[in-house]
Symmetry: C2
């Protein structure tokens, strides 16, 4: 439980997506953004100016030495996550870190254990489950009984490489970058963990290095099925990037998450639909409005949990389960066989 009025926060990594983090931090009243850090000094400086941040750093260690921080927000590419999270833990600073947690299961486990030993709160910035439409969809599932089937699909032809060119050269791309979101959403919507997984990956864009299409079928512990469809090579009647669509079925009915905030609930007694109002934040930019709103929601959630002494939803050890699914999906695709998930580690501790 943290009782001071305003938490002192720094943000590391001033790249493309960090602007939405910073914009959101600025409107969370319990937080004060005191510093930013980026290896590129001109980028750190410009970012600090843009968001009225008093100080900027180019060296994370220097940042932690100089500032008395309560929270650090890590928005770098995943290669540096472990080092930065462990640094925060050494300085006793609570951490929120962008997904994917890290690039190997060993790194992920080490990060979680470092934070647990240091007694700092560690949350992964798993924002898709904070999209308003998925919060509402989960509430609606209360009317359909225990879900037996979920399909989550993200099929797009958006040129994500133009904005984030490093994605084109990553050895592993769509599952690690985007699939992690849908796998986490699947855990959130099914209210169950998965015990077996089968995955097929493909590279359709000729000029990239990693996979840009993946299809994952998961079996939950109680025997439900979840089909996760990921593609950046799909032509659609209308390009919906970055919207994720969902079909959730239970013995008593169906919940449908459709484009642009449309939600349907179908049960034996009828059919209702509602359309959520689109987000309206001063800094929002198309086409990512629903996500930009989710960034604010998850950051507010982290702060609320810190102040009330609660575990945030996607705390590190919880997110290990999502990351296990990510790594298992690659193993499945590489071996063209299904993977039984060993959850003993997280079970024992979580």
């Amino acid at each position: 439980m943290i009782e001071k009025d305003r938490l002192r926060l720094a943000l590391i990594g001033c790249g493309y997506f960090a602007r939405y983090h910073a914009a959101a931090w600025r409107v969370i009243p319990q937080v004060e953004l005191v510093a930013v850090c980026d290896r590129a000094p001109e980028r750190a400086q410009a970012f600090a100016e843009q968001f009225d941040v008093p100080r900027y750093y180019t060296n994370p260690e220097a940042l932690f030495r100089a500032e008395r921080l309560d929270i650090v927000d890590i928005v770098t590419t995943p290669e540096s996550h472990r080092e930065l999270v462990e640094l925060a833990a050494r300085y006793g600073v609570h951490v929120i870190c962008q997904k994917p947690m890290a690039l190997s299961e060993a790194d992920c486990v080490a990060m979680v254990e470092s934070c647990e030993r240091a007694g700092v709160s560690f949350m992964v910035h798993e924002n898709f489950r904070w999209q308003r439409i998925f919060r509402r969809a989960r509430t609606l599932t209360e009317a359909i009984g225990e879900p037996f089937f979920l399909r989550l699909w993200f099929r797009s032809h958006y040129d994500v490489f133009a904005r984030q060119p490093y994605l084109a050269t990553a050895e592993r791309f769509i599952i690690l970058d985007l699939g992690v979101h849908l796998l986490d959403l699947a855990r959130f919507l099914m209210r169950d963990e998965f015990s077996t997984l089968y995955c097929i990956t493909q590279r359709v864009h000729p000029q990239i290095r990693g996979e840009d299409v993946a299809t994952i079928l998961l079996r939950s512990r109680r025997g439900a099925a979840a089909s996760i469809e990921l593609s950046y090579a799909s032509f659609a009647p209308r390009e919906l990037f970055p919207q994720t669509l969902a079909l959730i079925e239970g013995p008593l009915g169906t919940v449908l998450v459709e484009a642009d905030g449309l939600l349907r609930l179908i049960t034996s007694s009828g059919h209702t639909e509602e359309r959520l109002a689109p987000p309206s934040l001063p800094w929002q930019e198309p086409p990512g409005e629903w996500i930009q709103e989710a960034v604010l929601a998850i950051q507010q959630h982290f702060v609320d949990c810190l102040r009330r002494g609660l575990m945030p939803e996607t705390h590190g050890r919880d997110n290990l389960r999502t990351m296990q699914l990510v790594f298992a999906a690659y193993r499945s695709a590489d071996t063209t066989s299904s993977i039984a998930l060993d959850q003993s580690e997280s079970e024992r501790r979580g």
Copy 2:
């Protein structure tokens, strides 16, 4: 090659679906329906009267002894398929047999080999691929390059048990009865065979014996993914039974099979859509119009192939591949692991 004017045909099994077979045979000019056979004499007689068939039998052996047949159409439940197909082979009569071919892989292989030894043509009545919309969809896929992804879904809450009560007591239900259609369609639309499969089955209806929900993910030899969704426990915004919907994606575009004959083609150069005219056959009955038309199309195809000395599309050895997928799906669900398909048998021979 058969050169006589009209082929003499008998139909065995006068149950619910046989009426659509008989109605279609009657309008195929190269065929003469000379006899029907059913264990229940009153059913055989009533059916013969309804369709103006000169003779009826209650014993298949008696039928074959008494009639000089060119073709027999087997429309019984699958338990009797092997015995009846082998009987036809012994009498040198060409066979068209309802799906599923049989209830075990050993039976299926034996049936195919009996017909090959006897030199009779053997086709499985795999009619879904003869729905007009799927013939057209396959043609449209020529514009999208080699498909990398297919989703075929049949999600319904139709009370299929009311009309075919034996389905409620079958040990294996939805994959064997309906999945066989979608697995065959997947082979047809992907123009490729499958090498690995993972399947999850569920029973949602409490009062039935077999599975009423199944989800199957298949990997094709060239690495494409096909997701097959089957359910008789799904509430939908509108009940579409017995329509199958499809999404087919290639590097150059997408083909969508939507409800009521709507087809879309989306490529980088634009979006076109067409709506196929609904079938209009004198004997058609809702909601199965598209299927009833497909029955006529497949039977006409069989006759055309017989007269021109060609192999029909879903000849027995071809259909062995579909049946291998069916049995592998059950094995996968039972063992909660993926199955590598051994296609050496059909490869060697087919």
